[in-house]
Symmetry: C2
Subunit: 411 residues, 2 copies
């Protein structure tokens, strides 16, 4: 059996001071890696290139730089971050976000909020209304146990249900109203309907109004900074007016949350806006790289890609293409497809459930079965949701194993 | 809080004798359901409509009918089934397949094979070559512990690596050669290269040749039975010739495995073909329904859709559309999109990570937040891979909770 060092043609360590190279290379399964960790911290020297693949890795230098850049930008603009955990589903990363200065964490589903609060996060805003008796009860149980739980609502009927459940549980629920930016996905219409909902929440015995949210998801990936800015400011205008109406009538507007990685440096232009719900900025992905930024119209370089998938060449018997072990179940079907890190003239496709296909232009290239490649993910949120753990890496060395504790928590 | 019975407009019980209706309806989380089960069997009466959503359900009547139909068909045609567990990733379903008469189970990844063998399945054929030292060791450990493990190989170098690892482990590995049907994904070229690989496997000290496989994945979803039949028989012809060459030179052809749900009633026409690796037949999905069958050119009705996702309406404030809680993370991005069971004039989209959108033509329809819908899945394999468990249902009542023990085992 060949025990040669796997060729690492695609190794890139942009920004890293030194690349740690192992003296001997073997392979490690997820179980073997966990047995070498103590409280998540790896106790032995293992290169990421030794991991059995597909393996999800996050580069700590890039992750930390992204946290810092975001926090500096919003602080400069007089607002805060309340990052969305739907992206990473990982309590460790949520803790790093809180340490970087975030005012709280967002969750998309009640099961996600449960995991975050059980793992010690203290302030969690659930951005999706809970509409069934069962899920309303789950949310109220969270509020009873964790004072920092905040719930969104988007209809008078739902607000009454929340209030009744809170009264029955002997608590007061903290509630923000969810205002529709025009996408008609969730949220109440801005203006009078939203104002009346806020007044109702303010009045109901089991509820305390904490403000509002308006998430303009449809603008996050608009290409071109000026186009994106114009679109999202136009879409948020009715919510800004709603906030002014709430303020005039003496209602709480202490929270006016929204925005994301695509608009984090635009959202503060909305009067009264308090915090950005950005998620993808910690990882970045091929979808966000393509939208262009304020300084670079071609590539959105405000944040660094930190999340990659390691994959292994399974078959190299045909010129100009190889088959890898990372297909749809490792990469999702999101497009643009994953990008081979540090390479040009290559296209990767993950359209097959179990296998990826890499095609390359350069006929002088040769690959062997067993070679490893590194992929920048297509769309970070659903990719993370496929993995039980991610490997936290610095200078290509695995430093920790982070459980993706809310993976699959779509309920 | 409203505790009215959730409206179940879309309830369909095709073929079921009686629908069990609960007297009181509450909601159950995954944890609450597990606490009500003993050895997977549910100990209390719970309707599937009481489950917190998104929830993955498998209808036992449909599943059992599919197992029976497949087994009767292949038996009639003088071949067997060796069903692929990449579809269901669930030891319980693999056991039902073995009880229905299958000769073994297939696995796509070594981590999947590990789960199946650890859960008591005895004959597992790993259809993907293992190419790294670490994974070859994992495969050889499986073979050492479980006599029924069979490994595919598709290159002379890999066969030598396997043999060296088997010798080092003091075992003889059982190996089939993987022959490329022309897709150039995995597999060695048919004819002389394949024959020479088979001869090498037969000669190497650590290996025992058990035959061959040739999986023509690209033909499974060809629309129209005759078109599908013509294409797959043409693509398998070189493999059939390879088998004849192997037979003439005295090599083992005891296994000639391949095919799938789209070609299960065609594959026996290949001389020497022994078993179908069908996976999707147990569940069916929107992709397979669209290919048409031998008797029904419009709908592939050879098997019944048994796998569905229950989802809840979150927002119904806009005419002609509702937002649900089952988006990409619950349904994948596979198309055709999920089908609302038993309904026409409706389109469902799962393009948003957390939310689904249902659009309907009939303006007289009304929905309320909290209503539940049932979706036939788009593509069963990657959908199952999103869930930790599936609810086994008969007459709409949850009978058991099946762990999807190999979920996420893409390594």
């Amino acid at each position: 059996m060949s025990d040669a060092l796997p060729r690492r043609r695609f190794l890139q360590s942009a920004g890293a001071a030194a690349v740690w190279v192992p003296t001997t290379v073997k392979g490690y399964s997820a179980e073997e890696m966990r047995s070498r960790a103590l409280d998540d911290e790896l106790q032995v020297e293992v290169s990421k290139w030794e991991l059995d693949t597909p393996a999800l890795c996050v580069d700590l230098d890039a992750l930390e730089a992204n946290l810092r850049r975001m926090q500096e930008a919003v602080a400069r603009n007089g607002i805060a971050t309340r990052p969305h955990a739907k992206t990473h589903k990982c309590p460790q990363i949520a803790r790093l976000q809180m340490e970087s200065g975030s005012v709280g964490i967002c969750a998309a589903k009640v099961s996600e909020a449960e995991v975050l609060l059980e793992h010690g996060l203290q302030s969690v805003l659930m951005t999706t209304p809970n509409v069934t008796p069962s899920k309303i009860q789950r949310a109220m149980r969270l509020r009873a146990r964790h004072g920092g739980f905040i719930q969104a609502t988007d209809s008078p009927e739902n607000a009454r249900d929340l209030s009744a459940a809170a009264v029955a549980a002997g608590i007061t629920a903290e509630v923000v109203i969810d205002v529709d930016p025009g996408a008609h996905r969730t949220g109440i219409a801005p203006g009078r309907p939203a104002l009346e909902l806020a007044q109702l929440v303010d009045r109901l015995p089991g509820l305390r109004l904490a403000g509002m949210l308006c998430y303009d998801g449809g603008s996050q990936h608009v290409r071109g900074f000026q186009e994106r800015r114009a679109q999202t400011l136009a879409r948020l205008e009715p919510a800004v007016e709603t906030r002014a109406m709430m303020l005039r009538t003496g209602l709480s507007t202490e929270i006016f949350s929204g925005g994301g990685t695509g608009t984090y440096n635009i959202d503060h232009a909305n009067a009264g806006f308090t915090d950005v719900q950005a998620g993808s900025y910690v990882f970045m992905d091929a979808q966000y790289l393509a939208i262009g930024g304020a300084t670079d119209p071609e590539v959105y370089s405000d944040f660094e890609p930190s999340l990659t998938i390691l994959t292994t060449v399974l078959n190299s018997q045909h010129e100009g293409q190889v088959t890898t072990d990372a297909g749809t179940k490792a990469c999702t079907l999101n497009q643009p497809w994953p990008i081979v890190k540090g390479e040009a003239g290559m296209t990767y496709r993950a359209g097959s459930d179990e296998f990826g296909t890499l095609r390359y232009d350069d006929p002088s290239r040769t690959y062997r079965a067993g070679d490893k490649l590194e992929l920048i993910v297509s769309h970070c949120d659903p990719v993370v949701n496929l993995y039980d753990q991610m490997y936290a890496v610095r200078n290509d060395r695995v430093r920790a194993i982070w459980q993706i504790a809310a993976r699959g928590k779509s309920v």
